[in-house]
């Protein structure tokens, strides 16, 4: 640590003439970001206040419309699709966080001493790298009326010949499968993050608690959970942002319709449908609503990362 502060001082003393290189080196990032993200974002928000769409072969607008797009969206489908997105996220996230906490606690419990941890971690993280659209297509074929899953169910006598379980005809089946896919894709990632946090907890705290006669359950709720709170918040918020972006899985699974009864239509699917029907005013308004929600969540993430940085500095 001492050498670090010494190094920092030295760096400060000799770096005045080098300052301009800092700007040179970060320039490509910021130019690219401004060009491909910031300007498009500004024009997206701008168009949300205009009536601007294609009617047949003719473009209508852009004519200024004030908040008409927002009024339309909030009085029609947007609240429902926001609700869908939240429900679909929760169906995956609740088991994800519970299982991940359980696994991370088990993996880091030195008395439990689980073997084969490298193998388990490798396997449970794997689905995170899978192409979501292809994974969804795979689930569609596997859970189809004549697919292998129904084949197994018939084989073991759970269903009758000619009466398969029609997963994609029921709201519960469709939402459940989307939740299952999201769970499978993310619980390994969350487990590994939580494990790292739990391993960062001072071992002497656990030992002291054990000597005082705490049960593993007490240790988990009274010591582990409060101490990994910053990471839990980070996981919760980043997962929520991920949930708001949910698109590939329900889009492919329901062929973009969100059926049955548009119960699986998410916000980004809604945005996508406006993009393809070329209603740019409404697409802009959906984007702006999402931007405002994500903006608030991003500030929370930044603060969780920033306190981490400040604490590191203090040390």
């Amino acid at each position: 640590m001492h050498s670090m502060t010494a190094m920092r001082k030295k760096k400060k003393g000799s770096s005045i003439s080098y300052a301009k290189y800092g700007y040179y080196f970060i320039a490509p990032f910021f130019i690219t970001f401004i060009l491909f993200q910031l300007i498009p974002l500004a024009s997206t928000v701008y168009y949300s206040f205009f009536s601007y769409f294609r009617d047949g072969r003719k473009w209508i607008g852009p004519t200024f419309a004030g908040l008409a797009n927002y009024q339309y969206l909030f009085s029609t489908d947007l609240p429902r699709y926001l609700g869908n997105t939240l429900i679909l996220w929760l169906i995956g996230f609740i088991p994800q966080i519970l299982i991940s906490l359980l696994l991370a606690a088990w993996f880091t419990d030195y008395r439990l001493h689980l073997r084969g941890q490298a193998f388990f971690k490798t396997v449970i993280y794997m689905p995170n790298l899978i192409m979501a659209s292809a994974f969804s297509m795979l689930f569609y074929t596997l859970f189809a009326d004549s697919g292998p899953v129904n084949g197994v169910l018939r084989l073991v006598g759970l269903t009758q010949e000619g009466a398969p379980i029609r997963f994609f005809a029921s709201i519960l089946g469709t939402r459940g499968l989307i939740g299952l896919m999201n769970f499978l894709m993310w619980f390994g990632n969350t487990t590994i993050l939580l494990m790292a946090a739990m391993m960062g907890v001072e071992a002497s705290l656990f030992e002291a608690a054990e000597i005082d006669g705490c049960t593993p359950t007490q240790i988990f709720f009274k010591i582990t959970l409060p101490l990994i709170r910053p990471l839990l918040i980070y996981v919760l918020i980043t997962s929520m942002i991920g949930g708001l972006q949910m698109f590939d899985v329900p889009q492919i699974l329901t062929r973009g319709s969100g059926d049955p009864m548009r119960s699986a239509m998410t916000m980004i699917m809604y945005l996508n449908s406006h993009m393809f029907s070329r209603n740019y005013g409404r697409a802009g308004a959906v984007s702006t609503v999402l931007f405002l929600i994500c903006g608030i969540l991003c500030v929370v993430v930044m603060r969780s990362l920033d306190t981490d940085r400040k604490e590191a500095k203090k040390k």
């Binding site: 449970i124 993280y125 192409m131 292809a134 972006q245 802009g284 999402l290």
Partner: protein, 291 residues
């Protein structure tokens, strides 16, 4: 060994520990089964023909791997080969740009003191979790005006600004890039840019390798933006092909080649992952917060 190590509390605790261990292995077993089962069925079904698949559940591989692959590649309504080439090009070039420029940006903030340094850092952290979809409308219109519709570069160049890769790089530098090395290079007369390319970059190799894989996979899997920029019929990527496949009438499809196309999209990533999983799993935690 376990009974001895828990001596103070006696037999009851050791039995409890034993039961907990069995429960842990059972739960892990079920989860691993869930993680592997679907991909196993995928790999197996990709080697069977249409009729064997429709008959029901196949447990063991069949003999039609090459037949299915040939049928998938030859399908005139799905330019699969073009999709594979596009996906490979976009993903590998994106990954290269992302790791090089993220390292450059991170080094700029790590190694130099300048007025806007903290502001720049905070800003990148702020946008790190911002979804790119929200600016899609403006992006598509901008690319249209720049003449980039149905071209690949709009899907590659934006990777120069990859906040998550940047964050990983700067965390890595803080933990393992001593400034003494940079100062030694300066004394030896290396230019600032030369120092970065010849001295710093080689030291970042482990971090760059991990991030190259993450960036490649993220781009390889991306569906939303490419679908808005590229023509799905003539110039697709693999996720767009999957969507095209899904939009067809299932009854008209040859299931062997359906599974084969899904396998082509998924299995290469799994193979690379299994080869490098040690580094990838270790890399997951470096980008997050500490507890």
């Amino acid at each position: 060994m376990t009974t001895q190590s828990v001596k103070p509390q006696g037999r009851g605790v050791s039995a409890g520990l034993h039961a907990r261990r069995i429960l842990a292995y059972a739960v892990l077993g079920v989860l691993c089964f869930l993680c592997l089962f679907f991909f196993y069925v995928l790999a197996v079904n990709a080697t069977h023909n249409h009729y064997e698949i429709l008959k029901g559940f196949n447990l063991l591989p069949g003999a039609d791997f090459s037949k299915n692959l040939a049928a998938t590649l030859a399908d005139s309504s799905l330019p699969v080969l073009r999709g594979i080439v596009n996906s490979l090009l976009i993903a590998s070039l994106s990954a290269l740009l992302a790791i090089y420029f993220s390292a450059l940006t991170a080094y700029g903030i790590y190694a130099y003191d300048f007025k806007l340094k903290n502001l720049a850092f905070t800003f990148i952290i702020l946008i790190m979790s911002m979804p790119t979809q929200i600016s899609a409308l403006g992006f598509v219109r901008l690319i249209g005006r720049m003449g980039g519709t149905n071209r690949l570069w709009p899907l590659i160049l934006p990777s120069i600004a990859s906040p998550t890769v940047f964050y990983f790089m700067i965390q890595y530098m803080k933990s393992s890039l001593p400034m003494e090395i940079v100062e030694a290079a300066r004394i030896d007369g290396c230019s600032e840019f030369g120092t970065f390319n010849r001295v710093v970059l080689p030291l970042l190799k482990p971090a760059m390798a991990v991030q190259a894989i993450f960036s490649f996979v993220a781009s390889w899997n991306n569906y939303f933006t490419p679908a808005l920029i590229l023509d799905s019929k003539s110039n697709p990527t693999l996720p767009i092909l999957i969507a095209t496949l899904r939009s067809k009438d299932v009854a008209s499809l040859d299931m062997g080649s359906v599974y084969m196309l899904i396998a082509v999209a998924i299995l290469p990533v799994i193979v690379v992952y299994l080869l490098l999983s040690k580094f990838i799993v270790a890399g997951v935690t470096l980008g997050g917060v500490k507890g």
